[in-house]
């Protein structure tokens, strides 16, 4: 019999090496892809402005903003943790990124957690009550909701709750420059978060619910579930400790990949609600052809995807030890 421990460290090392090579490829793509965008910063900034430039001025500006020292120099810069300097904002890319990141983490992270939790529990409960009216209603409703794009949901929520009812603000992450105490400010942030968060939860929830429900339907048919019932275990324990845990894997994969794409995933919602996250930062940078910012955001989001996929490799084994056994043979 093959001893698993003999193979695990080398396999893990192999995984890490593979992902490192992928990360290097991402670094190259983050350098090369933005440069393929048509147009440049000077045209984007001055093209439709009221400023008149002479040829010499334009050449000087173009030389300043396209001072490309090559991929090697870019890698060295990254190794020194220098992400570059934004053409438009005239400030380090890292500052811009770190200023926008908390808002994206708050909005998208919270939306994922809420939709994961609600979707998971609702999916499990509905699958357990198979063929009932609740299941049919929920599945139909969620299937319908899955087809509604975020842009429609967002605009609808704005119209109803902001314009007509006036219950929630229509834009921003907080009231700008309001002189508030820390608790009042936190309350303000939460208040501004309601509509964008609701939009994203409504976008993510149906997928999580349907995936959990479908996985659970397959798991319920398993023999160990029959055994668990025969043993006289409480229904709640059967559902969650025996059933739901085995139905969790696809949901974990979905959650991980969604989280990895959080930077661009909320771009539409951030635009609708003028929420100051990374999606807005990237959108504005692309419009302005602000190469350093585009490079920085593309690189970080790519590395996040890789890191999450790598982390999922280890998380799978914790959730379902059978995966580790299967790979050993």
């Amino acid at each position: 019999m093959i001893r698993l421990s003999k193979y695990r460290p080398s396999r893990q090392m192999g995984l890490v090496v593979t992902f490192c090579l992928a990360a290097l490829a991402m670094v190259y793509l983050s350098y090369a892809l933005p440069r393929l965008l048509p147009g440049d910063f000077v045209t984007a900034m001055y093209g439709s402005s009221q400023v008149t430039l002479s040829e010499a001025q334009e050449a000087e500006l173009r030389a300043y903003y396209t001072n490309d020292r090559g991929f090697g120099s870019y890698v060295i810069q990254l190794a020194c943790l220098d992400w570059g300097y934004s053409y438009a904002f005239l400030s380090p890319v890292s500052h811009l990124f770190l200023a926008a990141l908390p808002w994206t983490l708050l909005l998208v992270g919270l939306a994922h957690l809420i939709s994961l939790g609600v979707g998971f529990f609702a999916g499990v409960e509905v699958a357990w009550r198979r063929s009932g009216i609740l299941e049919r209603t929920m599945v139909s409703g969620m299937t319908l909701l899955e087809g509604v794009p975020e842009i429609s949901t967002g605009v609808l929520l704005l119209l109803i709750f902001s314009l007509h009812l006036g219950w929630f603000p229509s834009a921003g992450a907080e009231t700008a420059y309001a002189d508030l105490s820390i608790w009042a400010r936190l309350a303000g942030v939460a208040y501004h978060l309601v509509l964008p968060l609701a939009t994203l939860v409504l976008a993510y929830l149906p997928g999580n619910f349907l995936l959990t429900r479908n996985s659970m339907v397959m798991v319920i048919k398993a023999r160990y579930m029959t055994t668990a019932r025969a043993k006289g275990l409480p229904p709640c324990r059967i559902r969650y400790a025996h059933g739901a845990r085995n139905a969790l894997l696809p949901l974990v994969t979905r959650f991980g990949l969604r989280l990895a794409f959080m930077i661009t995933g909320a771009l539409v919602v951030e635009r609708i609600y003028a929420y100051p996250g990374l999606g807005t930062l990237l959108f504005n940078a692309i419009q302005a052809r602000d190469l350093p910012v585009i490079q920085g955001v593309v690189l970080i989001s790519s590395l996040m995807v890789l890191a999450v996929i790598l982390a999922l490799e280890f998380v799978y084994k914790i959730i379902d030890p059978r995966i580790d056994h299967a790979r050993a043979f």
Partner: protein
């Protein structure tokens, strides 16, 4: 003890009541509002100083709250600012300005004539792209409150493009600054405008200004001025989260019902069909006229903009401009006439009903994109309507929708055939003719026709730039419009309705500046609204 306390309390109360009735009135303290919030969909327009704001109108306006100019404009025209009076001396080829006294910078230091001289010299060494100073030879102090700005040559747009646009810098701060673009010290935002700059949050796209109570034209009406970024200005206004915002014309009725005041701008911005007149068949003005006849501009307005707009003049200058020539040639929509011109050029209809010549089908690529109008990105369906109209005239059209920066880049590099674009400045100084026609300017606006095929037109465009007599200049501009419309290097399609709305409850009366703010910015955020 208690009786003493009671006596003091009663005395104080009596004094307070007396002062309330008979004390000195402080009008500004009674009329001033706590804050005014202006909504904007983009948010980020750069830091508000001459070297860090974005080269677009909203960027300049954010800077103008902090930095004043020699003269300014309000709803009626030019008004004194840092200069209380001015005149042109033809013999000297110079402008004489009487500088105000008693003006303070935000740091309390006095503003003097030396600051104006320094500013001109500084901008010559470190160009501020909004203010072309190549026509300015130099400046000197005549006496304590008079300066002379000498010109290299007579320069008609001087008041609009220099005196009314150039922000004056404090010499005592900038004289030691060699790298103005990267000078981001708090001192870089010391001006003598009505507001002090306090904060710009890049992530949120918000700006905060605080009133400068020692402003020479009187304390501002609002203690704080805040720019907020919003996705939907209609909702922000209706919900009271903003006091002023640009709006789409469709929103006007809804906001009017909610008590907002609706402002409508004069026709200063036009949608334009750019033509690559450097390549065949567009290098033939007869072909360009055929295009003009094939296009039904009213239909574009009706179908793509619900009737909210008006057909543009083919002569570039707006009908609302004092220099507009009502005799400018016009090309009425006439598909028959368009076809007749095409056939006179040798095109014949093939079996598919489209024109071709010598076996080559007449097929045109038409580029369209979102256009930025007064700082707001606007999408529309003009390209689709144009495509249908040109195809009805027998011209195959390949419609390509691209993002604005991509379209601008291709227009700039002449990698296009037809492109839908747009620009403003049509109500400002007639210098717009030079900006939109002169082929010598390689950059600046991608909306420039860069047309040099008609020497008479170019000569007139250059001549009006140096004609200081308004009557003679008007005659030159009239003739420019006639020839431009005959040559038709680009087709001005229509003027979309440009509107804004504001909440009147705060007692601030916003307006569109005559001819636009500074050199023609078409947004109703004139600082005089918060001063006078």
């Amino acid at each position: 003890m208690i009786s003493v306390f009671r006596k003091c309390w009663v005395s104080l109360t009596v004094v307070a009541v007396f002062m309330g009735f008979f004390g000195p009135a402080v009008p500004w303290a009674q009329d001033r509002v706590a804050e005014v919030r202006i909504a904007d969909s983009k948010g980020d327009w750069g830091f508000p100083n001459p070297f860090r704001h974005y080269p677009r109108g909203p960027g300049y306006v954010r800077m103008s709250w902090v930095f004043d100019t020699l003269i300014w404009k309000d709803a009626s025209g030019y008004i004194p600012a840092l200069a209380r009076s001015w005149r042109y001396e033809p013999a000297e080829k110079a402008f004489i300005f009487h500088i105000r006294d008693g003006v303070r910078w935000h740091d309390g230091k006095p503003f003097t004539a030396a600051d104006v001289i320094f500013t001109i010299d500084y901008f010559k060494r470190h160009p501020y792209r909004w203010v072309p100073l190549d026509a300015v030879a130099g400046a000197e102090i005549i006496d304590t409150d008079r300066i002379m700005i000498r010109l290299e040559r007579p320069y008609a747009p001087f008041l609009a493009y220099v005196a009314g646009t150039m922000p004056i810098l404090p010499k005592h701060i900038w004289e030691t600054v060699d790298d103005p673009v990267n000078f981001n010290d708090p001192k870089a935002y010391i001006g003598c405008g009505p507001y002090r700059f306090k904060d710009f949050n890049k992530a949120k796209g918000t700006y905060l200004y605080e009133a400068f109570d020692a402003y020479y034209q009187g304390p501002p009406k609002a203690s704080r001025l805040i720019y907020v970024k919003v996705g939907k200005p209609l909702i922000a206004l209706a919900a009271g989260k903003a006091d002023l915002a640009n709006i789409k014309p469709d929103m006007a009725e809804t906001l009017r019902e909610k008590g907002m005041v609706i402002l409508k701008n004069a026709r200063g911005w036009n949608k334009k069909l750019m033509i690559n007149h450097r390549i065949e068949p567009f290098n033939d003005k007869r072909f360009r006229r055929a295009l003009a006849h094939a296009i039904d501009r009213q239909e574009i307005i009706d179908k793509a903009h619900r009737g909210l707009g008006s057909p543009a003049s083919f002569g570039l200058i707006s009908p609302d401009h004092e220099y507009y020539n009502p005799e400018t040639p016009d090309y009425r929509h006439d598909t028959t006439q368009a076809r007749a011109i095409l056939e006179s050029l040798g095109y014949r209809k093939d079996a598919s009903g489209f024109y071709s010549r010598a076996g080559n089908p007449l097929k045109i690529e038409l580029m369209a994109s979102n256009i930025t109008v007064a700082g707001e990105s606007v999408s529309d369906r003009d390209g689709e309507v144009l495509k249908r109209q040109l195809e009805a005239a027998g011209i195959r059209v390949d419609l390509v929708n691209l993002e604005q920066a991509t379209t601008d880049g291709r227009i700039r590099n002449w990698q296009f055939q037809l492109a839908v674009s747009g620009h403003g400045g049509l109500l400002g100084d007639a210098m717009v003719l030079e900006r939109m026609i002169e082929p010598g300017k390689s950059s600046g606006s991608v909306n420039s026709a860069r047309y040099g095929a008609n020497p008479e037109l170019l000569e007139l465009v250059r001549a009006q730039m140096s004609e200081m007599d308004p009557i003679k200049r008007k005659a030159l501009v009239f003739r420019c419009q006639e020839i431009y419309a005959e040559e038709i290097p680009a087709i001005s399609l229509y003027y979309p309705e440009t509107m804004a709305a504001y909440n009147p409850e705060k007692g601030i009366g916003w307006y569109y500046t005559q001819g636009g703010i500074a050199l023609g910015i078409p947004i109703p955020q004139n600082k005089m609204s918060l001063v006078k």
